[in-house]
């Protein structure tokens, strides 16, 4: 089939080429593509040379091919002939039909001119007739129009004359709307002609309108009228060009004045809250202030609703009013919580305010009151939480300072113990209470609270953290150990200088810090973990707000610092005592010792005070040395021992003496070495007393080293130290260290002595006994007299 199609195509193509060459003006264009390439064998090209082609064919082809070619060519020629014939015939046919059509057109157009002229004539005559009718009717029409205008005018005049009567009728029937419509309708005329013929009429109607305005105003101001009616009245008044703005202003002012009535008075707030709380069981009593307040607010919001409808353009003003009321509420709330407020009261007032806000929000949703109040509530709540913590801190420090600890009581009575217990209780109870309050806060279901739960928890955690931190700072301030870094706080207690702060208080503070570290903080941590966890979503960026570990560390450090401070203040007192003791006499010209010096008494007295204070506040240590049964016996033995030591020394040759002495002390130290004098202080009675005694004895030694003694001076020291030995060992747990230190004092004195000859043991004993007897007698006297 393809072989058949190809020659068919060939044929069609040739046809087309032929036709195009026939029509084309320039034959070269149409055949340009093929003429050159097939110049010899293309019959169709213009440059075809038959002879040449023939020659080529004969040269190229054999007979058979030539014959074939001949046949083929003959067939092609015949085909072409028939094609041409067909073409000519078709064209001829078309010519014939065209001639026919032209002939027909020629016959149809004939006679049209006459018809046209006729038509023109008829139209001309119609026009002239219509003009005639128009002119004949013109006059009458003019007349009718004039009459009509007159009639209208007359009707208007009639209306105006009737206006007063009509208005009165309207007033009677209270159809103010109609009246206003009439009046405004007549207004332009009255304005123009009012001074001439309509004067009476105008006056009358104006009077009527005045009445109407008055009526409308009363209507607007009367609260008994329905809002709709009042709104209408307002609209009418506006139509009558009455200055509505001033009216509005007046009304709003009234509303504003009523605000004052709505203000929650801090004094009354408490009552309010109380009553609101008990509203469930005392429903019948309508005169309760809470109810009154609620009614008032309700009225206020109703009024707002009304005004909003009456004066749609006054919204802004109303918004302002509502906001003012809310702000006022929260302000008075803030004032209120400046004093101490129980959480119930706080919540009660909060509820009331929230109700008010909800009421107003209904009326003015656009005022965004809830947002505003939520913000304000956040601030207030935050303040409240902070205030609770500060109250707690105040409580604790009040408890601490309530008992004016003075010298006497602290030692004699149990004041320190009482203070410690009270403050412990204050801290514990305070935290418990505060937790209860927070529970209440969290349980509260009033709108805002639910939203703020997370925040509140965050505040609480942060609050505890800050609370403990500031508590620690306050402890340090109270103890008088204000460091230079907080001058501001230091300035507050400048009045009570450091020596006025009783040492006992410092001790109490130290123990209280331990208590907080060990008891309170774990409890708080637990409580927070169980009830107040998860709230720190907003605080996560800085880590959790409440860090018990850090607080424990802080209080641990504080307790140690305070305890050290206590010991310091105590030893300072003794130090002053010793300083005086060693500065005053001329030790080089000291007289023979007659009795134990009185500084010993004072020193022991101080120690006794320390012991008493410590006993009240600190726990006993686990280790307790066995009680010495026979203090007297031990007294003599020790004295003799030290005596022999010194006697030994005395026997040495004079020149060798000091050196050997030094050597001996070195040797003694080698053996006794590491009698730890400055050990860490523990929170036990014994440890504190021991540390105090050790520090005092060390000071004593240092003072001795700064002096030079003659024989008697040395003997005096010897006597004093000997006397101290027994009572000190009574009070102190670390006997070895005390022994060592006492010996050190003796050694120091002997080193600083020009002429070391110790007292004979019998004399020493006698003097000590005398002193003991004297002090016993003194005590007896005291007890008798008291």
């Amino acid at each position: 089939m393809a072989t058949e199609a190809a020659p068919m195509d060939e044929k069609a193509k040739r046809m087309r080429d032929l036709l195009s060459s026939f029509y084309a003006p320039d034959p070269s264009i149409s055949t340009s593509g093929s003429s050159i390439s097939t110049s010899f064998d293309n019959i169709n090209s213009t440059s075809f040379d038959a002879d040449q082609y023939m020659d080529l064919m004969i040269k190229k082809s054999n007979l058979e091919v030539l014959l074939q070619r001949h046949v083929q060519m003959a067939a092609e020629i015949k085909n072409l002939d028939t094609d041409l014939q067909m073409l000519v015939y078709e064209n001829y046919n078309k010519f014939i039909s065209a001639t026919d059509t032209i002939k027909r057109m020629k016959s149809n157009i004939f006679g049209m001119e006459g018809n046209m002229d006729q038509l023109l004539q008829k139209i001309m005559s119609v026009q002239s007739r219509s003009d005639g009718v128009n002119t004949s009717l013109f006059e009458k029409r003019e007349h009718i129009e004039k009459l009509h205008r007159t009639r209208n005018l007359l009707r208007k005049v009639q209306f105006i004359y009737d206006l007063p009567a009509r208005l009165h009728k309207c007033i009677k029937s209270e159809a103010y709307g109609d009246a206003v419509r009439f009046y405004t309708g007549a207004m332009p005329i009255l304005k123009v002609y009012g001074d001439t013929s309509f004067q009476d009429c105008r006056r009358d109607s104006e009077e009527a309108i005045k009445i109407i305005i008055k009526n409308l105003q009363t209507k607007l101001f009367s609260d008994s009228e329905s809002i709709q009616a009042r709104a209408e009245a307002a609209v009418l008044l506006k139509q009558l060009d009455v200055p509505v703005d001033s009216l509005k202003a007046k009304l709003l002012e009234k509303l504003e004045q009523s605000l004052d009535g709505l203000q929650i008075n801090p004094e009354e707030a408490r009552k309010l809250a109380k009553q609101n709380d008990s509203s469930n069981d005392a429903e019948s009593d309508d005169q309760r202030p809470a109810k009154i307040h609620e009614d008032a607010v309700r009225g206020f919001s109703e009024a707002m609703r009304a005004y909003r409808e009456i004066f749609p353009d006054s919204e802004e003003r109303l918004f302002k009013l509502a906001r003012a009321l809310t702000a006022m509420h929260f302000e008075s709330m803030e004032l209120y919580i400046r004093k101490r407020v129980s959480t119930e009261d706080f919540l009660g007032i909060f509820r009331i305010i929230w109700e008010d806000v909800v009421l107003m929000d209904e009326v003015l949703p656009e005022a965004a009151l809830s947002d505003l109040s939520a913000e304000a509530a956040q601030v207030t709540l935050k303040q409240y939480v902070a205030r609770m913590f500060s109250h707690l801190q105040q409580d604790i420090s009040d408890t601490l300072l309530k008992f004016g600890i003075n010298q006497k009581e602290a030692v004699e009575g149990e004041v320190l113990k009482v203070v410690l217990e009270a403050s412990k209780k204050a801290v514990l109870q305070g935290t418990t209470d505060i937790f209860q309050d927070f529970h209440q806060l969290l349980d509260e279901n009033t709108g805002i609270f639910i939203k703020m739960k997370e925040l509140i928890i965050g505040w609480i955690q942060k609050g505890f953290q800050d609370f403990f931190r500031s508590l620690e700072a306050q402890f340090l301030v109270l103890s008088g150990k204000t460091s230079s870094s907080n001058d501001t706080e230091g300035g507050l207690i400048e009045g009570k200088s450091s020596d006025k702060i009783h040492a006992g208080l410092i001790l109490v503070l130290a123990q209280l810090s331990v208590f907080i570290e060990q008891k309170v903080i774990p409890r708080v941590t637990e409580e927070i973990a169980t009830s107040f966890s998860g709230g720190n979503s907003q605080a996560f960026e800085n880590g959790p707000a409440f860090i018990p570990g850090e607080l424990c560390r802080v209080f641990h450090a504080a307790s140690e610092k305070l305890l050290q401070h206590y010991i310091d203040t105590r030893t300072q007192k003794v130090s002053v005592l010793l300083r005086k003791r060693f500065k005053t006499p001329n030790w080089v010209k000291h007289k023979e010792p007659r009795e134990v010096h009185m500084f010993v008494d004072m020193f022991l007295h101080e120690l006794e005070e320390v012991g008493k204070e410590v006993k009240q506040v600190l726990p006993q240590g686990t280790f307790r040395k066995h009680k010495r049964t026979d203090s007297n016996g031990s007294n003599t033995t020790t004295s003799s021992r030290s005596n022999t030591l010194h006697n030994d020394k005395m026997t040495r040759s004079n020149s060798q003496r000091a050196r050997s002495q030094l050597f001996e002390t070195h040797l003694a130290k080698l053996f006794k070495q590491k009698v730890e004098i400055f050990t860490k202080v523990e929170f036990t009675q014994e440890s504190v007393v021991t540390t105090t005694v050790k520090l005092c004895l060390k000071s004593l030694q240092e003072y001795v080293r700064l002096q030079t003694f003659n024989r008697s001076g040395f003997q005096q020291i010897q006597l004093d130290i000997q006397f101290l030995k027994a009572p000190l060992k009574e009070t102190v747990e670390d006997e070895a260290a005390i022994d060592f230190l006492l010996d050190e004092v003796i050694v120091a004195a002997s080193e600083r002595c020009l002429d070391v000859i110790p007292l004979e043991p019998p004399i020493l004993d006698k003097l000590i006994q005398a002193k003991l007897a004297k002090s016993k007698e003194h005590n007896n006297n005291n007890t008798v007299s008291s």
Partner: protein, 350 residues
């Protein structure tokens, strides 16, 4: 005597309280120390640290007639020093010259240049003017402040002026301001007093009782360090001396002496009767520190103690930095043991 853990040790024969650096010796790190013995013949030891820093060599041993309570070296002549001594019932102060050649050991006698004998009471200390060319001296007893002019060549000292601080005050020691040669700080029972030497008047004071020792910061003007029995070490800015700039806890017992490092302004050494030497780092940049939050401040308070040298058997009274090698200091405990330590591991990075 065997040295401590790291320090170089040297033992004196008797107890001793004071040690001083021989500043005028520019070629060696040298210290001078004197013993305190009531009954024996007292000695002055000239100690030199060997170049390797591993040994403390006694370069000279001189007998001193009385027990020495205070010793200070002349800043311009390495052979001259002053002592305050006690005979038991009376006190004296004198300027001494080490005999030449002082390398010769054993018991050469000291040559007395001048005796500062304008005092009656207990003399506390002798201060040399910090200015190297000045020949001024101050001696202090409990009531009086005496300014001397020393003439070494003529071997005499002359009283330039004398002023009583009053009976009440009971002076106990002092320091000469290295930044202002006319200003001297004196410690008294109830305050630190500042004296102007031109007028010999007290011009200022810091109320602080029982201050035992003061030292000026050599590198930073206006900064004074004080040590007292009761509450440790305080740094003061003299321009606003109401409140201390910084507090350091000091020692377990009394803090006896403080010395600022001559080169590293933040380093402070203190010695105490708890047989320890403490090395402190006190930045004392006053303004910033106070305004920091208490948390920050407390954190800073935690770590000012760089190191505590506790290898002593008795109270430590003597302390001196080396100005030639400012990372070296000498300490002297009451039992007569001199210990040289290096603070190199604790030096601040510069």
């Amino acid at each position: 005597m065997q040295g401590g853990s790291s320090g170089v040790g040297y033992g004196l024969k008797y107890q001793a309280r004071c040690i001083s650096e021989v500043k005028a010796d520019r070629d060696h790190t040298t210290f001078l120390t004197g013993t305190l013995s009531l009954k024996e013949e007292n000695e002055v030891h000239l100690l030199r640290l060997s170049s390797g820093g591993s040994e403390l060599v006694c370069e000279g041993l001189f007998s001193h007639p009385n027990e020495i309570w205070d010793l200070a070296c002349c800043p311009f002549d390495q052979r001259i020093f002053s002592t305050v001594f006690s005979t038991g019932d009376s006190f004296g102060a004198a300027i001494w010259q080490i005999p030449e050649p002082y390398g010769q050991s054993n018991s050469s006698t000291l040559e007395c240049v001048a005796s500062l004998d304008a005092h009656v009471g207990k003399i506390n200390c002798v201060l040399w003017s910090p200015s190297e060319k000045s020949d001024k001296l101050i001696s202090m007893d409990e009531q009086n402040l005496v300014l001397w002019s020393l003439d070494c060549s003529r071997k005499s000292a002359e009283v330039l002026s004398k002023e009583s601080a009053g009976m009440r005050h009971s002076l106990s020691g002092g320091a000469w301001n290295p930044h202002d040669v006319n200003s001297v700080a004196a410690t008294s029972e109830s305050s630190i007093q500042f004296w102007d030497l031109r007028t010999m008047k007290m011009v200022n004071s810091i109320e602080r009782s029982h201050v035992r020792n003061v030292d000026y910061n050599l590198k930073r003007e206006h900064i004074l360090v004080s040590a007292d029995d009761e509450s440790g070490i305080h740094l003061w800015d003299l321009r606003k001396a109401k409140v201390p700039v910084q507090e350091l806890p000091g020692h377990t017992h009394w803090t006896w002496a403080v010395r600022c490092n001559p080169e590293y302004e933040e380093l402070i050494l203190s010695v105490g009767t708890d047989s320890a030497v403490n090395l402190w780092f006190a930045s004392a940049s006053s303004e910033k520190k106070t305004s920091e939050s208490p948390v920050e401040a407390s954190r800073q308070r935690v770590n000012p103690l760089l190191n505590s040298y506790t290898d002593y058997e008795d109270s430590v009274y003597g302390l001196a930095w080396s100005s030639r090698e400012p990372w070296i200091f000498a300490s002297l405990s009451y039992d007569g043991r001199v210990v040289i330590e290096s603070v190199k591991p604790f030096l601040p990075k510069r």
